[in-house]
Symmetry: C3
Subunit: 556 residues, 3 copies
């Protein structure tokens, strides 16, 4: 029974993946879905029925939501196969990188990627959801979760978009500690050019999807040279999924998405340098939108600066194409082969360029997930930002934690998959059904005695941002139909430590039995049985997977 | 005459100390006091009369205040003697450590310690106080002094209490520079266990009284290891009066007061890491109060994380005892002998453990006081907090300063004794009787010409917190009946320097006579006479002691 | 025609300089001015007429503004000659230092210096100004420029003054990033003494004019000594124009202007250490104004601290002369020859003393200007403030930029000359005549698409402060009658880089032609022609100089 149940789930997951992205009309899609159900020889009648039901539910839901479909130009299945084949060929990859690589293939070619997609489809059994999310899902006072509606459009053209998350402190004073950080999202169509600009902000970019070339105009940082004496030079890097790129404030950058069919998706961590939490893009090339900053100067000043007449000047500041511009094959080719400084990194010998998170050995890895981390102690580029970049790939049905960060605050962006997280928080009131205590005031004032912890719980789907403050215990659960992939920017990261609250190496298992006995007020043996039962570390089978296993066992 | 006067004072001090804490009814206490007066053979009739008068005053005052008496279980005098004997045996101690040790004996066994005690008893002659404190003591606009009513209860049980001082900026915007710091106070009964918790704050703890064992669950900090790769381990330390302990944010800690009769008193310097000035405790073990943070998670999530059923789980999160729990002799013994890592520090070879402030050579020491300092340059643990911890023991009747800190702001907690401090402050208006100028606006705006300085003056007693900003000249005076003992947390301490304004090495004595002449507008000789007359450094005989000496001289 | 035009301008500049400061009645001054015009043999009738007209305009304007004239005691021309002669003798000087030195001679002896002077005289042709400054000069919403009315008087006496610029955030929340910095201005008459004081702020002083002796009372900073253990000592330095002096918070300082006729002018960069953006002076010597901080203490406390009676004490705190005090020749001599530690720096071997910005090799230098920079990486004194101090001397008619700082915010103080600056700013709305876009909201919220840049443009004259945030393109233009001399404090300076937007080494010239083509939307050739035409670097001939050259050419 358990085995069959798992197969159903896997199959349904696959269905959702495929059908959600096929470039077909809804009817054809629905038909395909039904056929797939019937083709499953291992299904009995009831299972086939449930399967077909799901197909219909999905189709209906998609229709209601207005289906922001895209036309895929080629057969996605063939592309996935090719892509996965390339994963195997990658010499630098170990098995875990290959898995991430293959998962990326699925995502890129089957789904088309991007935060624009709004559907969320729970494959859990009916009634389940209610129980999981309490009375009506997440609570309104939860200030830790951000969705599409909390993003501001910074630029949008027919070829892509740039969004920026609202300031954290617009949401809640509880986030004052991270008020100077922002999160951005960039999505560019295949074969496009993202126009040169600089920002009054430091940035760390994570390539969530795609392949391209990233160019910076930078000084050659020497030892102790005065700021305007040294020369500047163009630095170009090939980028791919998993790359992390540090961009210093003020550096002019431009990007090419050189892929023929795949979107380029970049998640940005931003630290403004002028006004806390506020930054702007400064476009040299431009017209009305984006405007060129050169147009803010008087014509006579520009004439003098450039030693040219104003008519010539006016001609070049009339760009009509916006920030993300369709490029020709020839232009792409010229921009992605490098011209200066001996070719494009990593072949040009540049040491301060991007590094790939997936090429690192995972800090935790088992059947239920993998955690990749880039530490500010190891990566000089992250050091002055006091930032760790990490990537958690939680296997479908698995969970990560509960654990807490000793001093870092985690800002997490869901790159792919669905699931939910739970966090214990002394600042929010709790309305859990199981709740046995009164409301906490949310303030640390007055004569309040002791501390109670509210439950912050929220669904996660692609594009959700959630914040986990230091010290707050948290657990993240992947849905049973998809891996949950999350990129995390952990600020205040130097000397941070992840204290685990369950599994091998958990905090309680290190205490003397007398401390447990006194602390918990029950015989030590009882406490120890609980904190020493789980043999996995960091990643565990999630609640649903556990339940299915139990049912499987009970059915046997 | 001078000698006799001193003896009276010393005797009266002793009386107050003893009688204030004896476990007797008020009548018995008063009788004891009177008898002690009569037993002083060296007293003449008038002196005996004054002495007896004091006894009666004290008894009356105690009655009015409702006398929060405690029952001492054994003879305090015997305990003091034993304790002092141990001071002499301590091999690592020099004479100054012995003195502090003996003074601690007095405090611990005679007084019982603790911020709860509210009495304040001036042994100065009548009428004196009025003159010293102006019209009715300290002024209301003084934002630099905090008393019992400015503390918030964080936890209170029958066996102890945890208080936290209100946020500094709740009091005044003038304290904005230290808004991210908090001060805490912990007092635990003998033979108790303070339950495990971690905090979203860095902490530096000063053991003001008592002996115990302090345990942290910590990672083994390596060179450049990624945050979740390294192992965690239990670290236990024996602690005693004068110990300074750095606790990193997120570290689970628990404490045992192993003493049979003595309370454990800890003063905490706290730097929150999430929200400026706000922090919370996170209790793993717990029930309703403190609640266990585990109870904020869904039962099904915990079942999966721990691989146990929810009934077992619910059983262990029902602690009813609160945060500070009475422990049995056996439990205490087990928790204070160490089990992991080769015994308890300092025998276990742990280098990053607590250090004792009193084992250091005092930076200043004479008959009028001693100053112990732990510099962030020397103590790696204090370095990232940019914090100096210091302890001033001002001899009864003595004074420290005037001096100012060049860049550090001092947050001082009175551990024992009474006295007062005076500070020159350009931000508060002055209403001193001697004042010859108008009100300053307290603002730096407008066309105000020049600067005037208000006098901040306030009584100090056990539990008073006072703040001295950088650059502000300050002097602290001990009452004539008790040493004034103050622990200071000096923030922004790196490269701080204490500039002395009187005594040897004072700032003015380093200036050319022409500079003094021009600056003061009187002949240099006059200025030099004043700034070069005092031969002591940092600690001086205080005003009352000086007056008595003068009277002594004039009587001779 | 071009040559003549230039001569007129130079002559008129000289006229303005001389007449503006001569110690004569307005009629005599006007007569002198007219005579000078007539003496110019190379002028034709029309030129003489224009010249005389200017004299009359100037005299009228001066009368209306109430002419804050001063009496010069000696012949300024002779003094200028002597001063310039000394410039030639200075052995350490290269040619560029000599030029600055000679320019300082002009300024110091002809003008008398100081922010007090309010006149501004444009020698540009009629109608010109309107075009340059748009409809009525700078816009009200410009929060980046500060003039005399934004300074607060801190101290003023008959011998000098101390002003402090208002807090930056009083003007605009856009300046929140620099809210903890302040700018101060000190001007002291010849042969004066600035009385000892310390501040609860770090300071960096730039000597804009004059010669004197600067004294600090400082500890001898050792390796890791505890703050109150080390000794203090007097350190005296000779200072001259161009010197940069770091003063640590709390350090008592006093200054002598030893020059016989020249004012001492110091521009101060201030970083408060207690309350963000707020600081105070603490005067030891003093009476009512400035008050001595000693007077805030109780007489009995001071008696005890100094071991003297209160009558002696009261005598020395009665200073009536204020902060800036006239000194006798003998006092000056004694204070400027050093007594302690083997003479006055640089002869006393002090390594952490002032350094002179003009003794450094300029980072940029051509016919149109020079830029001197002191980098926090090179100068340990600036390192903990993360501050660069720089000095731009823009030749009359020349311009600097456009360029932008990658991460530093520049706070600039106009030391001498006139001109204007233009800056592209995404935060202010633009009302330029040429404007082709709507108002930007000034906020980064809502569904605003893309970014537009407002023009910030403002006249500059002696005493103007202007702020240029990181990333903001800016150009500064000197008037055609005077060099524009600006001292800049650049905060957040570590690893800052100046990206140039025109001239050799400009950012666009480093991009591939395909990037330019795509970015600008026109053929690469057109863009390259514009960005590669200017051969100079950083400093260029300004708009007016260019126009005159063109006219000169067209006339030929």
């Amino acid at each position: 029974m358990k085995a069959i149940s798992l197969i159903v789930l896997v199959l349904l997951s696959a269905l959702v993946l495929v059908s959600g992205l096929a470039s077909v009309t809804e009817d054809v899609e629905l038909k395909q879905c039904r056929d797939l159900c019937r083709d499953q020889k291992q299904f009995d009648e009831k299972q086939q029925h449930v399967c077909i039901q799901r197909c219909e539910d999905y189709a209906r839901e998609k229709k209601e939501w207005g289906g922001r479909g895209e036309s895929a130009e080629t057969d996605p299945e063939r592309r996935v196969r090719e892509c996965k084949h390339q994963c195997e060929q990658h010499k630098r990859y170990g098995e875990q990188e290959r898995e991430v690589c293959r998962s990326q293939c699925e995502k890129e070619f089957r789904e088309g990627g991007g935060r624009g997609k709004k559907y969320y489809y729970d494959v859990e059994e009916e009634g389940e959801e209610q129980e999981v999310f309490g009375e009506g899902g997440e609570r309104e006072e939860n200030p830790y979760v951000f969705r599409d509606e909390h993003f501001l459009k910074k630029a949008e053209s027919q070829h892509g978009r740039v969004d920026v998350l609202q300031r954290f402190t617009e949401r809640s004073e509880l986030l004052k500690g991270i008020e100077n950080f922002r999160i951005g999202f960039l999505e560019a169509d295949p074969q496009t050019f993202i126009s040169p600009a600089h920002f009054d902000a430091d940035g760390v970019l994570f390539v969530a999807q795609g392949r391209g070339t990233f160019t910076m105009i930078r000084e050659n940082r020497g030892r102790t040279t005065t700021s305007s004496r040294s020369e500047i030079k163009r630095h170009s890097f090939n980028i791919e999924t998993g790359d992390v790129i540090r961009v210093h404030a003020g550096t002019p950058v431009y990007v090419v998405n050189k892929h023929e069919s795949q979107k380029l998706v970049i998640i940005k961590f931003i630290r403004p340098v002028n006004t806390p939490g506020a930054f702007e893009a400064f476009h040299g090339p431009g017209g009305d939108n984006p405007e060129s900053f050169f147009r803010a100067f008087s014509p006579e000043l520009l004439e003098a600066a450039f030693k040219v007449d104003r008519e010539s000047l006016q001609r070049i500041f009339q760009q009509k194409e916006g920030t993300i511009i369709k490029a020709s094959q020839e232009q792409i080719r010229a921009l992605t082969h490098g011209e200066e400084g001996g070719g494009i990194w990593p072949f040009g010998g540049e040491s301060s360029g991007p590094f790939n998170l997936f090429h690192r050995r995972p800090t935790h890895k088992n059947n239920y997930g993998q955690l990749f981390e880039a530490d500010p102690n190891e990566f000089e580029q992250l050091d002055d930002l006091d930032l760790m970049v990490s990537f958690a790939n939680i296997t479908r049905g698995g969970m990560a934690g509960p654990f807490y960060n000793s001093k870092a605050t985690k800002i997490a962006y869901v790159v792919d998959g669905e699931g939910y997280f739970e966090m214990a928080c002394p600042h929010v009131s709790s309305t859990r059904k199981q709740g046995r205590r009164g409301q906490s005031t949310g303030s640390s004032r007055g004569s309040r005695q002791g501390t109670t912890y509210g439950q912050v719980k929220s669904r996660l789907k692609r594009g959700t941002v959630f914040v986990v403050p230091a010290g707050h215990p948290v657990a993240t659960v992947a849905s049973t139909n998809n891996n949950l992939q999350v990129v995390c920017f952990e600020v205040n990261a130097r000397d941070n430590f992840k204290f685990q609250l369950a599994g091998k190496n958990n905090v309680m298992s290190k205490m003397e039995s007398q401390a447990l006995e006194l602390g918990f007020g029950v015989p030590a043996r009882e406490v120890e049985q609980i904190f020493r039962n789980q043999n996995e570390e960091f990643f565990f089978p999630g609640p649903e997977m556990q339940r299915q296993r139990r049912r499987g066992h009970s059915a046997v």
